[in-house]
Amino acid sequence: MPSEVDRLSQGTRLRVDAPTILVTVLLAGPVLAGLAGTALPAFGYLPALGYGQFSFAPFQQLFEAPGLVTSALLSLSTGLTASLLSLAIVLIFTAGWSGTQTFRRLTRFLSPLLSVPHAAAAIGLAFLIAPSGFVVRLVSPWATGWTRPPDILILNDPYGMAMTFGLVAKEVPFLFLMTLAALNRPRTEDFFKAGAGLGYGRMATFFKIVLPQVYPMIRLPILAVVAYSTSVVDVATILGPTTPPPLAPRLVAWMNDPDLTERLMASAGALLQLAVTLSALVIYLCLEKLARVLAHRQYQSGHRFRQEGFSRFFSLLPMLLIIIVMVLSLCLLVIWSAAKSWWFPAVLPQAWSLSKMVDAVQMGSGSLAATLFLAVVSALLATSLTLWLLEARSHRNLAVNKRLKSYIFLPLLVPQIAFLFGLQMLFLLFGLSGTLLAVLLSHLIFVFPYAFLALSDPWDQLDPRYARAARSIGAPRAKVFWKIQLPLLLRPVLVTIAVAAAVSVGQYLPTLMIGAGRIVTITTESVALASGGNRQFASLYALLQLIVPLMGFLLAALVPSLVHRNRAAMRLGK
């Protein structure tokens, strides 16, 4: 806590510093420039391709595209449903079980699931629930009579249910960890006790007392989930409907069409995507408002909801289901990658082979190297930048205010596709399209917000008196950072690097658009392979996606225990 003197002198100091400017330019800059770069071609202006006249032709062409309304509605409904479902599952589970042993055990499962890239999760899920997938195999033919995969649309169903489920399975771990971080502040436990002391049930206490206090901290992540889910490409390509697909994957197809006029139409479509995502965000905000009004009435009723055994039980089920499905999906990826032949309806492969695995790793070594490079460099850059920003802000006793936070989260709140189109054009103009540097920059835009999300809480919770004590015995600022703050935060810093690397590995659309087919990562390869139908290769590549995050989290777990092996106070769970 800053002292009174600090607070008084704060007003006279300059409120901006180098890292703040850098972060704002790095994040808000590409988003705004990219949006402009999308908007101009949408109105027919793209001099580089010889279109110098503003017109509404791209929009006319867009609205003539068959099934456009269906696509837009699909994006809106699947994205919004997935976001609301994920939030509900996380909140009722936290309400029913927070603070219990069960909660702690499941937390251990959910944290690593966060690092599973969307594409890998979607591929695993597809192998699980497809008509020829594991679940059908388990019950065939003895229960169903099917000796060949049934002709039913489980995957790619026209209502996007498989896609919604895939999104939920990925967003639940994210929202859960965000909620966990928000609950991890002093006195949360006391508020739970206060509720019980007044006779309120555990879930009622959570919803009436605790949630209203922590909700502001999970709000931005929720909005990011809404924005992401309504404009997702990779999950939609693998699990989503095909006739017609949701809006975002259609836009990517148009963008990559050899016919250049389709690009103008795609740009117009990207603006439509922006409108769809904005509508979803507005709908969410309206629902939030409604919930708030209803909740305030409920606060005053005095209802205790003491009998909660059933609701607690049911709050556990969806969470368990998601964990089981995700773990099964990952197991299937492992099995498929080592399967030589695995004919329906056998539950396990008839023949195993590791030779293809070796082939795949050799063939994919280029994309694996690119993936590793992008992950490591963007993670290190994003983490260093976050540290620089946090150190500079706290040195001046400036909190990271709301405005700075919304700049940092801007890239997560605007649909990727809406500004990546424009950004691709800009990179083309500067001759950077398809270079590793451009792809690295585009990754950094999305990696940094997550690095900041992961590190800002631990930084804020670090007792500022350590730094003050060091300063008071004459240590210069740099020494305080390198010798005090950084070692104390070693574990969260390493976790942040791991999270950031995982986010980079998961980036599908930025790699696809900015890499322009010349920079290929494991993730773009695996999505292509998954739609190509080669299950063994698809699962191998999906597994390779997991390696980088896994190595990261392993290091984050091991290094601190080695460095601090003789320091009891630095151990976890103190």
Binding site: Q101, R187, D190, F191, K193, A194, G195, A196, G197, L198, G199, Y200, G201, R202, T205, K208, I209, P212, Q213, Y299, Q300, S301, G302, H303, R304, R306
Partner: protein, 232 residues
């Protein structure tokens, strides 16, 4: 709920708490309605664990033996929310998203359905502690003493059958402390509630004027001094 034996208070029967096999504390004590038991001990002596045990929040790391009996009900297998034990903490913990009055209405049992009646009860409670007219205020704008008084009324409006006080006066400055303390003790006695007060302030113990139990002190002193118990 109809209490089987409203005349008896809070009874701690051969309670002992262990952590990693080591006995942290043991106590055997009977707190009649309207009486105050003060538990004193250094930090780390298990004061908070005892409160957590009685209120039903003991962490699974601890092993507990013995029973807690309130008005003849054995609470051992009763969920925290069903124990009817009012709690006051070191900080008042007023809910920051509600007004002062809403904080109080929150505690009133749902059996009182009429919204006007609920509001009147809450306003009366404010008046009782000299805070009439504070209902619409944001709890954060109240002084520490005022917050503690609101917290006390919130606890009492929930109609508890016993009170657990976890150093609720430690955050108050010296001048306010005795005043608020007297208010809490007087209201508890008036309501006939057995009170368990945990503190490390000798002054608190003296003001409570009841039994005093020292934790972590000489093993022989552990037990419940049943003598010298003032009864109103």
């Amino acid at each position: 709920m109809i209490a089987p034996d409203p005349a008896s208070g809070l009874i701690l029967q051969n309670v002992s708490l262990r952590l990693n096999g080591l006995v942290l504390l043991s106590i055997d004590c009977d707190i009649p309605p309207g009486a105050i038991l003060t538990i004193m001990g250094e930090s780390g002596s298990g004061k908070s664990s005892l409160l957590n045990f009685i209120a039903g929040f003991l962490k699974p790391d601890f092993e507990a033996q013995g029973d807690v009996v309130l008005r003849g009900r054995n609470l051992s297998n009763v969920a925290a929310q069903d124990r009817h034990i009012g709690l006051m903490f070191q900080s008042p913990l007023l809910f920051p998203h509600m007004s002062v009055l809403q904080n109080l209405i929150f505690a009133i049992p749902p059996e009182i359905k009429n919204r006007q009646k609920r509001r009147e009860l809450a306003e009366q409670a404010l008046t009782d502690v000299g805070l009439a007219g504070f209902g619409t205020r944001d709890p954060a704008t109240l002084s520490g003493g005022q917050q503690t008084r609101v917290a006390l009324m919130r606890t009492l409006l929930a109609q508890p059958e016993a009170l657990l006080l976890d150093e609720p006066f430690s955050s108050l400055d010296q001048s306010r402390r005795s005043e608020v303390r007297k208010l809490v003790f007087d209201l508890a006695r008036k309501n006939g509630l057995p009170v368990l007060l945990v503190t490390h302030d000798e002054e608190d113990a003296r003001a409570a004027g009841g039994m005093v139990h020292h934790l972590g002190a000489d093993e022989t002193k552990n037990g419940c001094p049943l003598t010298g118990q003032p009864q109103q």
